[in-house]
C-alpha cells in the first residue's frame, strides 16, 4: 500500500534531480570567494561569521533569481529551504579559505 511520501516521490523524475545538484558547486564557489574576502579584509571573530551569513543570503538570492528564475519548488525537491541551506561542508570551506588568506596576508611575515 503506497503511503503519502511514496505518492509524492513518484511524481519526481530522479535523473533531473541529480542534474540539479550542480547547484552545490555554485554554493561551493560562492563560499570560497566569501572566505577569501573575509581573509583579505582581516575580519575576525563575529564579523567574519557575519560575512558568512551575508554571503548565504546573497548566494541564495542570486540562485533564486538567476538559476531557479523565481520558482525554486520547480527545480528543487526541498524547495526554498534546500536553496538557502549552504550544505554541510561549506561552512568549513569558508573557514578554511578565510584562515588561509588571513594567514598569508596578515600573519605571514
Amino acid at each position: 500500500m503506497a503511503t503519502t511520501t511514496d505518492n509524492a516521490a513518484q511524481l519526481i523524475f530522479a535523473p533531473n534531480v541529480l542534474h540539479n545538484q550542480a547547484l552545490t558547486s555554485v554554493k561551493f564557489l560562492s563560499f570560497c570567494f566569501a572566505g577569501a574576502v573575509a581573509g583579505i579584509l582581516g575580519l575576525e571573530n563575529w564579523l567574519g561569521f557575519a560575512l558568512f551569513i551575508a554571503s548565504i543570503v546573497s548566494t541564495s538570492f542570486i540562485i533564486y533569481a538567476i538559476n531557479c528564475r523565481g520558482k525554486p519548488a520547480k527545480y528543487l525537491p526541498g524547495g526554498l529551504g534546500e536553496l538557502v541551506n549552504p550544505g554541510q561542508d561549506n561552512i568549513f570551506t569558508f573557514i578554511l579559505v578565510w584562515t588561509l588568506f588571513y594567514g598569508i596576508i596578515h600573519v605571514y611575515d
Binding site: S25, L29, L41
Partner: protein
C-alpha cells in the same frame, strides 16, 4: 562565455586586493605605524570581487531541469513510455485501406 569572464575577473580582483593589502601592511610595519583600517579602495575591490564571483558562479551552472514527471512527459510520447504490449496485434488492414477503390476483386 560571460560567466567565465566574471569568474576570471573576480579571481584577479581578489588576488590584486590580497596583494595590495599585504603591501599596505608591509608598508605600515616598515614605517612602524600602528595598524589602522584598510584603505577603502581595497575594501571596495574585494566586495566587487565577491559580487562578480557570486554572479559568475551562478551563471556558470548549467540550466536547471524541471523535476516533475509531468514536465518530462512533455518531451516524450505516451507510446514511448507504455507500449501496452498485451494489446499489440500484428494483423494489418493496409491491404484494404490502401487498395484502389475499383480493384474489381472484392
Amino acid at each position: 562565455m560571460i560567466e567565465k569572464l566574471f569568474l576570471t575577473l573576480a579571481t584577479l580582483a581578489l588576488l590584486h586586493a590580497a596583494y595590495s593589502t599585504y603591501e599596505h601592511l608591509s608598508l605600515l610595519k616598515a614605517l612602524g605605524k600602528p595598524e589602522g583600517s584598510l584603505p577603502l579602495d581595497i575594501v571596495y575591490e574585494s566586495i566587487l570581487a565577491l559580487i562578480l564571483g557570486l554572479l559568475g558562479a551562478s551563471l556558470n551552472a548549467p540550466p536547471l531541469k524541471d523535476i516533475t514527471w509531468a514536465s518530462e512527459m512533455k518531451k516524450r510520447t505516451i507510446d514511448g513510455m507504455d507500449s501496452r504490449l498485451g494489446f499489440a496485434h500484428y494483423k494489418s488492414r493496409g491491404k484494404f485501406l490502401f487498395a484502389s477503390p475499383h480493384d474489381g476483386k472484392i
